[in-house]
Amino acid sequence: MEQIRVGDFKVIDNCLMIRLPEEIDHHGAGLICENADKYLIRDEVQNVIFDFEKTRFMDSSGIGIIMGRYRKISCFGGRVYAIHLDRQIERIFQLSGLNKIVEVLES
């Protein structure tokens, strides 16, 4: 139940893989950030991959989640990747300039 809202977190090598939930808005954003930061600190991961495969909705709250994690890891040379963007999320990436700091991987 909680997983539907928060997403799914997995650490592979030095990479935190976050499978984002179906809808990303302000209501769920806090929990996603809290969980992500827990892994970033505990496992000292260097890079983060955001997987949007299940995501059907995202508003500007999603930008905050990604920018915030980017700020936390980029000063240690970490990188942020995104995968499986649908058309709307791709537009949001472009409009906000997220695509300049996040490497969007071809799905």
Partner: protein
């Protein structure tokens, strides 16, 4: 042909998904494209979230889900958000209003990347998305009285489908 609806709900984050789904359901009989639907849901979500966070200062988790308020928030503001929609000749008019804090300088607030809450990891893109995803956007605000956002979007072929 005209069709109207109005909803009023508590300004808590639990209601953000309800708000955008309600507006989406209201327009489905016009057969909007997937893209039009996504545009409208995003724009509604931006305006409603702004009323909740900025208008009333109700932070995430301060709803009825039983989660404790974040420490920086002592109590839930009892304010409401009102959404009224009017469909006329395939054109959707949405008004989203709160009676919260209001905005000093609307023009400045609407600049992309401008935010007064970087501490909450807001990015200042809300108004920019409303502008990009809708055909028209108008913001009226009085400090201490509240904010009203009006948006217009033409849907599909513009014909009424009964």
């Amino acid at each position: 042909m005209k069709n109207e609806m109005e909803i009023i709900f508590d300004a808590v984050s639990d209601n953000e998904s309800f708000a955008r789904v309600a507006v989406a359901a209201f327009i489905t009989h016009l057969n909007p494209t997937v893209e039009e639907m996504a545009d409208i849901k995003t724009a509604v979500s931006e305006a409603v979230t702004n009323s909740i966070i900025h208008g009333y200062g109700n932070l995430q988790g301060c709803g009825r889900t039983g989660r404790a308020c974040p420490p920086e928030q002592k109590e839930i503001h009892p304010g409401k958000v009102r959404i009224s929609c009017r469909l006329e000749n395939g054109i959707l008019h949405i008004e989203i209003a709160d009676t919260g804090r209001g905005i000093e300088d609307v023009e400045k607030a609407m600049e992309p990347l401008y935010t007064t809450r970087p501490d909450l990891e807001r990015s200042g893109m809300g108004f920019a998305f409303m502008e990009a995803f809708m055909d028209d956007l108008e913001v009226e605000s009085t400090p201490g009285e509240g904010t009203t956002v009006r948006m217009v979007k033409k849907i599909g072929i513009g014909e009424w489908i009964a």
